[in-house]
């Protein structure tokens, strides 16, 4: 039996208030008034699809060992790198390299489901496969997309042991129906008229595909307990369900009011949402539309209730901070030519040879543990840092990303350049041993205190825009 064995999700902490966006733009786009409700997730300045996928993957692997993963598929339409294996960055951050096949899947909003199909197929022979999907899409100022989109990620571990949602079947069709596109020369989507997309696209492409999938699975529409179908048109999933005999009550909420549409990740984000509340025997259909359609059908098993707790979508959704400052959203997305000052001009060139030598330290947050005195330290060095030891060549690698730490000292620095001043940073100490001066992220004044408990999170430090956008990643501390 192949299927999903674990799930995880990630949602940025900030939630952009849509009314605030509308209030700023209504002089120009009064027609957006109907969308000025609720909130959408908003990536912090140091988050992109890779960092969100790493967090979702860590959430997913709460119950499983990363080193057992044999394949990583990373789906997105906003991979930070066009030519550099984005999925491989996730692997390195999870400290998985050996025996790993890493693959990026993109080019369509159904990339998430395509990756899941590929992941399930790859894990049939027993090779645990991690499928991560994340998107952080740009949208033009005063567009409906700006209000509808959200940033987020999901991750699913596929395998054959302790399956919580068994794959019943899948079906795909592929046709070049261009409802929208994003060319190589643009940061933004360009879309055609919604009514045409609904009538000629969804209505003519999706129902026959669902019917074929149901037939292949020997199921009727009424057998489906959870119907997952992302769409920017909220009425469409209901309409599709009705056309194939799936009950209206099965149609899952699009999470538009609180999260927004997370692009290529959204079908999987909604699947995690469904899995969190699903019961054994529930049948889940996932439909993703984008130059064709992918359909997957799962049946929840009794193993689901045995899956150890994790934050999941609900946990990350509950970690929330409202953001009413639309200017900040624009600035974080480099949509506002803000005066960053001369301190933002320092060269951010990365020595790739150094990064390669130190990748376990920088991407994996792997420190060292001294075999002689047992001291844990970061970074790992050739001479033990313990003043009463100083043994040479005595340290074994010691992974620290998953350890909780606490604040020994900190400051809020208004002098250094930060896209979100003041910059919080401080000395963090790990109870097992080890400490370093770390940048903090997702931190507010009232949360950062001496002794505060922190967790490590994989983030962007710098973006080397002088060289076309080389993102420097490292770990930051964030309040638990």
């Amino acid at each position: 039996m192949v299927g999903i064995v674990a799930y995880g999700a990630y949602v940025p902490r900030l939630r952009l208030n849509r009314q605030a966006v509308y209030d700023a733009n209504k002089w120009f786009a009064a027609g957006l008034r109907g969308l000025a409700k609720g909130e959408r997730s908003m990536a912090n300045w140091d988050e992109d699809s890779i960092t969100m996928a790493v967090e979702a993957s860590r959430d997913c692997l709460t119950s499983h060992k990363a080193e057992d993963v044999r394949n990583i598929y990373f789906a997105s339409t906003t991979h930070p790198f066009k030519d550099r294996q984005n999925a491989g960055v996730i692997g390195t951050a999870l400290n998985v390299e050996q025996n790993l096949s890493a693959t990026d899947i993109g080019g369509s909003l159904k990339a998430g489901t395509s990756a899941l199909i590929a992941g399930l197929n790859a894990s049939k022979e027993g090779a645990p496969t991690l499928v991560a999907a994340a998107d952080k899409r740009m949208a033009r100022v005063a567009s409906s997309n700006e209000l509808n989109y959200g940033d987020g990620a999901a991750a699913l571990l596929c395998g054959t042991e302790n399956v919580i949602a068994k794959l019943v079947g899948h079906h795909s069709v592929s046709m070049d129906f261009v409802d929208h596109f994003r060319g190589d020369e643009s940061d933004f989507d360009y879309g055609w008229e919604e009514r045409w997309i609904r009538d000629e696209g969804y209505s003519k492409i999706v129902p026959p595909a669902i019917k074929a999938a149901l037939a292949a699975c020997k199921l009727n529409g009424s057998d489906i307990t959870h119907f997952i179908m992302p769409s920017l048109m909220p009425a469409v999933p209901k309409q599709m369900a009705k056309m194939v005999g799936i009950g209206e009550g099965a149609v899952r909420d699009l999470l538009g009011a609180t999260l927004g549409d997370t692009g290529a990740a959204h079908a999987l984000v909604m699947l995690v949402d469904a899995l969190e509340g699903a019961k054994a025997g529930d049948k889940i259909m996932v439909v993703a539309f984008g130059q064709g359609v992918d359909i997957l059908v799962f049946e929840v098993t009794a193993e689901k209730d045995k899956l150890p707790a994790r934050k999941g979508l609900s946990g990350w959704m509950a970690r929330r901070k409202e953001e009413k400052n639309y200017m900040k959203f624009l600035a974080f997305n480099e949509m506002l030519p803000i005066d960053k000052g001369m301190r933002a001009e320092f060269d951010k060139k990365t020595a790739l040879s150094v990064l390669w030598r130190k990748r376990d330290m920088i991407y994996g947050l792997v420190g060292g543990k001294c075999k002689v005195c047992g001291t844990v330290q970061f970074p790992r060095s050739q001479v033990c840092v313990n003043p009463n030891c100083h043994a040479m060549d005595s340290q074994d690698p010691y992974a620290m990303a998953g350890l909780e730490c606490s604040v020994m000292s900190f400051t809020a620095d208004s002098l250094t350049y930060s896209p979100d001043p003041p910059a919080y940073y401080g000395m963090i100490t790990f109870p097992e041993g080890g400490r370093f001066m770390a940048d903090f992220t997702d931190s507010d004044k009232d949360q950062v205190k001496v002794g505060a408990k922190m967790r490590m999170t994989f983030r962007m430090r710098d973006n080397d825009q002088m060289r076309g956008g080389f993102k420097r990643y490292f770990w930051k501390a964030t309040p638990v």
Partner: protein, 399 residues
């Protein structure tokens, strides 16, 4: 312990440029300004110099590397010139090199000159940059005020000092230095400042406000050293000799091992203890007449006075509030105005501190002159509380 260099080296002459935003001068002009005064004070001919040490810390924004800039600017007689850089301890490091040359017998006359031209970057504060190709991949996006601000948070935690008490104490540190700097024509900031202004200044890196931070300025200072015997033979009176020169450098235990609580300078404790030994000082609180310490930030000075073994650990803030370190207190600290009023042209600062000690011991400090000082101690702290170089110099009357 080795025998040390106590009384083996005398300061023959010193010079110090006007510190400040010297829009009129580059590093070369500043070097000459200090050097001309120094050479005249020493009373020797340039051709008698046999070796020189040249300190700068951020030379990539002014003179560039090597000993060449000093030799070129002064047109030195093709003598050995060594360029030294040890962050904020660089000036003292240049002095140490020159003193060791004389103490060893390798040179009869040696020059130490430090300079920093910081105000050609186009922005306030120290020039940025976060180190080498590995450091930039993981070091926190910090600044000097942000690193030293954490000394304050850790100190409060370690000793149960309230934010309000600490803010008052470090405010007093700056208030006192401004009082002193107002009497010094070479200082960058020559203005007394009200406590209210200090306490209500904008935050730079919490809890450090604007007046908790020293200025950023341009300046140079120089010393020519020789042996006490030669100084005497040249007819010098009131000879100032070197009693001790010590350095201590972090090895990573503070930044990487959980035994350090962030509230003190491990290296300053070590360097000062060794310096007292070298100088034969048994009870520093009774024997040292005055201090020039590294007040890059007000809290640095406060904590340093404990680590120099003058104030009790955790009680320094009370001594400060009691006026112990004021100009009319038991041991005046920063009688020239300190880094607070001079600013901190990095390569020059250690020598500028020695310049004030030298003037005071000779009774030449004008309106700032203290009554009969015999022993003066300077201290520099380069780097950050978690990783640094502490340098200590003790000079005094040659008796």
């Amino acid at each position: 312990m080795a025998r040390g260099i106590k009384d083996k080296v005398a300061i023959l002459g010193m010079g110090c440029s006007k510190f400040g935003e010297r829009w009129d001068s580059g590093a070369e002009e500043l070097m000459l300004e200090a050097y001309k005064e120094c050479l005249k004070d020493a009373g020797i001919d340039q051709n008698q110099l046999q070796a020189a040490w040249f300190s700068t810390a951020i030379d990539e924004v002014h003179v560039g590397k090597s000993g060449i800039p000093l030799s070129m600017t002064l047109r030195l007689p093709n003598i050995p010139v060594t360029h030294v850089e040890n962050m904020c301890a660089s000036g003292t490091e240049a002095f140490r090199g020159a003193c060791y040359a004389v103490a060893s017998g390798a040179a009869d006359f040696a020059l130490a000159l430090g300079v920093e031209k910081l105000k050609d970057t186009g922005y306030g504060g120290l020039p940025g940059g976060r180190g080498g190709p590995l450091q930039v991949l993981w070091n926190a996006n910090g600044t000097a005020p942000g690193n030293f601000a954490q000394l304050a948070t850790a100190y409060m935690t370690a000793h149960g000092v309230s934010g309000e008490d600490l803010k008052k104490a470090i405010g007093h540190v700056s208030w006192k230095s401004h009082q002193n700097g107002a009497k010094n024509p070479k200082a960058h900031l020559q203005k007394a400042v009200e406590m209210d202004t200090i306490l209500n200044a904008p935050m730079i890196a919490s809890p450090l406000g604007l007046f908790d931070c020293c200025g950023v300025s341009d300046g140079a200072a120089a010393a020519i050293v020789t042996t006490p015997e030669i100084a005497k033979a040249l007819g010098k009176k009131d000879i100032v000799s070197v009693k001790a020169l010590q350095l201590s450098v972090s090895n990573g235990s503070e930044s990487g091992h959980n035994s350090w609580d962030g509230s003190y300078f491990h290296t300053t404790r070590i360097a000062s203890k060794k310096a007292y030994e070298e100088a034969g000082i048994k009870s520093p609180r009774d024997e040292v007449s005055m201090f020039e310490v590294h007040d890059c930030f007000s809290v640095t000075e406060l904590v340093t006075m404990e680590d120099l073994h003058i104030s009790e650990t955790g009680k320094g803030w009370k001594d400060v509030l009691d006026g112990f370190y004021d100009a009319d207190g038991k041991i005046p600290c920063q009688i020239d105005g300190g880094l607070k009023c001079f600013g901190h042209p990095i390569g020059a600062s250690g020598l500028r501190m020695l310049y004030e000690m030298y003037l005071q011991i000779q009774g030449k400090a004008g309106p700032r002159q203290l009554k009969d000082p015999r022993i003066g101690m300077t201290h520099n702290l380069g780097g950050a509380p978690r990783e640094n170089i502490a340098s200590v110099a003790i000079v005094g009357r040659y008796e």
